[in-house]
Symmetry: C2
Subunit: 514 residues, 2 copies
Amino acid sequence: MSDTTVTARKRGGAGAARRAERTSVKIETARFIERNIPNFDLLSSEALEIIETNAETILEEIGVNFVNNPSALALWKDAGADVQGERVHIPRGLARKLCATAPSRIKQYARNPEKTVEIGGNSLVCAPVYGPPFVRDLAGGRRYATIADFQKFVKLGYMSKWLHHSGGTVCEPTDVAVNKRHLDMLLAHMTLSDKPFMGSVTEPSRAQDSVDMCGILFGEDFVQNNTVMTSLININSPMTFDDVMMGALEVYARNNQACVVSPFIVGGAMAPVSVAGTLTQVLAEVLAGISYSQLIRPGAPVIFGTFVTSIDMNSGAPTFGTPEASQILYGAGQLARRMGLPYRSGGGLCGSKMPYAQAAYESANTLQAALMGGVNFMLHSCGWLEGGLVSSFEKFVMDADQLGILHHIAKGVQIDENAQAMGAIREVGPGGHYLGCDHTQTNFKSAFWRTEILDYKPFETWQEEGARDTVTLAAERVEKMINTYQKPAIDPAVEEALTDYVTRKKASFPDSFT
Amino acid sequence: MSDTTVTARKRGGAGAARRAERTSVKIETARFIERNIPNFDLLSSEALEIIETNAETILEEIGVNFVNNPSALALWKDAGADVQGERVHIPRGLARKLCATAPSRIKQYARNPEKTVEIGGNSLVCAPVYGPPFVRDLAGGRRYATIADFQKFVKLGYMSKWLHHSGGTVCEPTDVAVNKRHLDMLLAHMTLSDKPFMGSVTEPSRAQDSVDMCGILFGEDFVQNNTVMTSLININSPMTFDDVMMGALEVYARNNQACVVSPFIVGGAMAPVSVAGTLTQVLAEVLAGISYSQLIRPGAPVIFGTFVTSIDMNSGAPTFGTPEASQILYGAGQLARRMGLPYRSGGGLCGSKMPYAQAAYESANTLQAALMGGVNFMLHSCGWLEGGLVSSFEKFVMDADQLGILHHIAKGVQIDENAQAMGAIREVGPGGHYLGCDHTQTNFKSAFWRTEILDYKPFETWQEEGARDTVTLAAERVEKMINTYQKPAIDPAVEEALTDYVTRKKASFPDSFT
């Protein structure tokens, strides 16, 4: 299918679409991962049952706060919860029952149907870094992010083969008013890429803008009947659901759009220092949040989210790539699967200030755990630096390259006759070598994953070429990608309508930078 | 127990040992890992059975070569193999039957009994890099390794908390004659560290020297009745067993000392490009090698080894941290467990020329796989650089720091009342924070793994302190460790006897540098 099918079908603008398509370059994007390998189940069933029982105890006896949200409290009361002030006590079993209407797998449409993804089951969808106010690159150092940086990240995401999703706030465009930047961000995702993306959550009205703009891009009926956004709803751990995030969730749930309901936890600060205690709190929070989404609209698509890092007790800094974070990732994945819900966690997380070895150790530890731990939606797959304060251009392409490894491991091991290679082993025999044999010649192109960045050259060549480090090689790749970027085809009428919407909206109220 | 118990008991030199001990600093070494987590089983039983059947076909129909080794051929013939020239055809089932006498778990004694390790079952023993002719550090760059470098690595290994084993050829001391350097290496391991170590394999006579020196260190009877060395016997893949390696294996097997029997494979060159094909060849080779060890001495301790990397078809270079290498690691682990044998694989392997991000991505990928894949003995756990051509001082301490992560993940998740932390969750409640609560104060010191190298400081502090990269931080740690190094206590009479042995041996024949 062409990458303009959806819009062309809807508007009858097939001619314009075809013209646009003819001039575009096809960018290769890997299909989202469908694991052909088992998940790694770290915790025993007994341990999981204890955690589940304790999570129900939290909901019933301690309760959760829904802040500044009278209509939420009313909904909870109607559903059978014991509401005292803003505290909601959820009777044992009720939350799990409410969660049962949430789908186990979500199909999120991209405007290019080839790039539509499915989140749930054995899938793994990779999305880029989300949220940093700063950007960094070798040339410009660390600085506040701008909308130009944002657009550059969207372009890199579009061109990254192993990245399935364009993400959301790949960096905060701080040069655009706080109350308007979501419009520019959405426009960038919709026009500079054709991969699926995320909506705004910083105000319910901005969530509504996201839905309205999707109506232009996909058609309003299509949006009401299909999921075209996956947005990030963080819980203020411990056990607090604020009105801004819940307001956004309400908009998305009513419009059939997916939300990641995600405790945001620095272990030792927002949750107990123990893994089991943190998992218990995570489960209680997710049960409450997802129940609430189902109270808004039974069947609303949601994802069991877990963002957990631990605190360094010496410095107070969040730490990444740690064993405790991996244990929580594995455990939460098991809890999500027992609920039959899609699972979000992982990412190329690191505390490192620069894309040095520390960043790579920390990121690789988490990327591996995310693959093995059954993550379905991986935000921060690439580009995350300095504990999420910085989006790094070089790290974006470095991590994105590593995502190829996850794709290849997830394929599992082929065992057909060609893969058994008995003919080759017979042909070569003891003391021989395989480089020239038929089997090698036939298979070598697809046999091994190959990096697009890392250095595999002989030592002498590497030295002659300037002994470049990984960051330098990555910077060269960023430049090459940006220089060859071509915008994906889009129906000009759709693009114009989107631009009009953004222009009109931005003119309709004054700028605010708070 | 004191770290001189073994030698003191044997020689009655308790007074001297106690004096030596009083002046020594106790260095903390973690006990070898005993996994409290499941292994990751990548391949299905059906796939493993096909591979096992095919491996038997290789042994029977293609055969393996035992080169320049008439006595090996005679042993094989006696055992029922069809020997044609140097080619040994092993009837289906024979090799597996011969392997059955090999123990499933090996206790390798250290001269400090607290550092004795067990290899097999759920254990993971970490040993450092093995074999590089070059060393590298920030101050001195890349250069040929010397015995001084070797001694420095042994000291670092002795002081590395998460490293259980002193290893073998941590680098090649190229300033010592090829035919004598094993003596200096053994002396360094025996006197500068008190952790378990490996013997020489480069000539059968040097294996005998290793056994004889162990006789001085542990007592001859002790050595005959216990395993005090684990040595590395590489197979010349495909399917070739040379007389030097087999000669060393013969010495060790006869003396009850452990050998890792390890195909050394660059996939696409020494094995088929497919994972299943490579696993089949690996299994055939290990079956033949371990069978042979059992023909020498039934019950000889051996380890199922797998060193596999894949070739980059563009440059011909070996590559590390790749998905195919991980798949082979996982699959070979399953094959080893089905044979009930201890398993060697993994390590902080990388192709990177420097300890930059590339090195860390590649190393972390393999370290994680080794933990999850059930490796029992991990050579190259730390310090490996540039495809094994270089031992890096900085990467040694960087990787050794990461080994702490494996220890913490392997512990599994505690689920006792303290770990459940329900009291803390109750005490803190919605909207609170955990930093000050009793549970956090009681548990924070042991709750999280903490790096000894990586930077967790606030951005501003990091910048003010010179924005140091990971390699610089690692170089500082190397210097600090070496400056505070203190030799572990040893009975002076034993040390003198070892030194005498080395001096005498070295004087007894001329130097050779080939």
